[in-house]
Point group: C2
Chain length 221, copies 2
């Protein structure tokens, strides 16, 4: 308490920033953006050991970004606040505007200059209503089952070539994944376009779609 209040405040703000300063924690937050999860599920999805994942989660909790609740033996974590998503999004936007390295990586993902503009969620909703579009969900099957855009096909990158024959050659395809931090949709679009298909990426992923209040279909367990 002896330091100045001004510094004390800055320390708190810095704590939040620090929580976002490790790739592992960004991955965890991206997962939590899709819904609450237990420690084990998070560890598996992110490739971290359980102990390590638990430590990161506690760092996130200290920064106030996640909250936990006990459910039987399991501890379930969730985002404290939807504003956290905005913060991650702004972080991404600032990084994309200012860091040449980010642009280079994204360009590499999209396979060159010819990456089309993403489709806005409003546009996609309108096109869905008139049935003039094929929606592709590029996330793993379990995440698809837990909630997806109604009418979407599901295929991971590895499965993509298998479903190619089922797609009409002139269909307009819109791919989406976990959200702005996720690169699956970028890669899927690049692959589809290499095969000559008319594919574009959705702006944002399922969490943003849900945040907009749009319908999400959940598979019966």
């Amino acid at each position: 308490m002896s330091i100045s209040p001004k510094l004390a405040l800055l320390e708190e703000y810095a704590l939040v920033a620090r929580a976002l300063s490790a790739p592992a924690r960004l991955m965890i937050l991206e997962q939590l953006a899709q819904g609450e999860r237990g420690v084990e599920a998070l560890a598996e999805k992110t490739g971290l050991t359980i102990a390590n994942c638990s430590q990161h989660l506690q760092q996130l909790r200290r920064a106030g970004l996640v909250t936990s609740r006990r459910e039987g033996k399991a501890v379930i974590y969730r985002l404290t606040d939807a504003k956290t998503l905005d913060l991650m999004d702004l972080l991404r936007i600032v990084a994309e505007r200012n860091l040449a390295q980010v642009e280079r990586i994204l360009r590499g993902l999209s396979g060159g200059e010819d990456a089309p503009e993403p489709v806005s969620r409003t546009d996609l909703a309108a096109r869905l209503a008139e049935g003039s579009v094929t929606v592709l969900d590029v996330r793993p099957a379990d995440e698809f089952a837990a909630g997806h855009i109604p009418g979407a096909l599901n295929a991971t990158l590895a499965q993509l070539e298998q479903i190619l024959p089922t797609l009409a050659p002139d269909a307009e395809i819109v791919a989406y994944c976990r959200g702005p931090y996720c690169v699956y949709a970028h890669q899927a679009v690049a692959t589809l376009r290499r095969y000559g298909l008319n594919a574009r990426r959705l702006d944002g992923g399922l969490p943003e779609w849900r945040e907009d209040g749009r319908p999400v279909l959940i598979d019966a367990g």
Copy 2:
């Protein structure tokens, strides 16, 4: 290039967050929000040594948050992008919503429960136009000289008691400082209210006022 593009992207985003994860760098950014500055000026304002300040600046530059330009012997730094301010602001908002510690500090600054709501910049502009308000700039004299709200008085916290007699006892006072990260205005309002004056805080500081496109008066050098 051997790591996955996904991880590479997350590393870049984390780099930006890391740049915001030290109080010293937040102070520097707060200064730069008011206008471009040389290294020496920044070091003095933040209380850092020049060498240390230079190192922090380079970390900020690596994260793409600041840009430098040479002017004679001096190197002048400025914010790369106004979006950085949004990012800092959101960081602050998330911290205030989620961290009890922040609320405690702010409450202590404001001297208890009775802190009034801040005045919006739109409101202040209207009240200024009709002359029904006294505006107080709580920043150091040099920053006041470099630009302030037209008609504002200038007094640091230390000088505040000296100008008390010049204030009409029933005047409505609106205090502002460097911006949301700055606590001078909070403290000034607390002091003025202890003396029974009707003081409130402006929402945001001079950078936000300027960002709104409102008039700023610059003293002739």
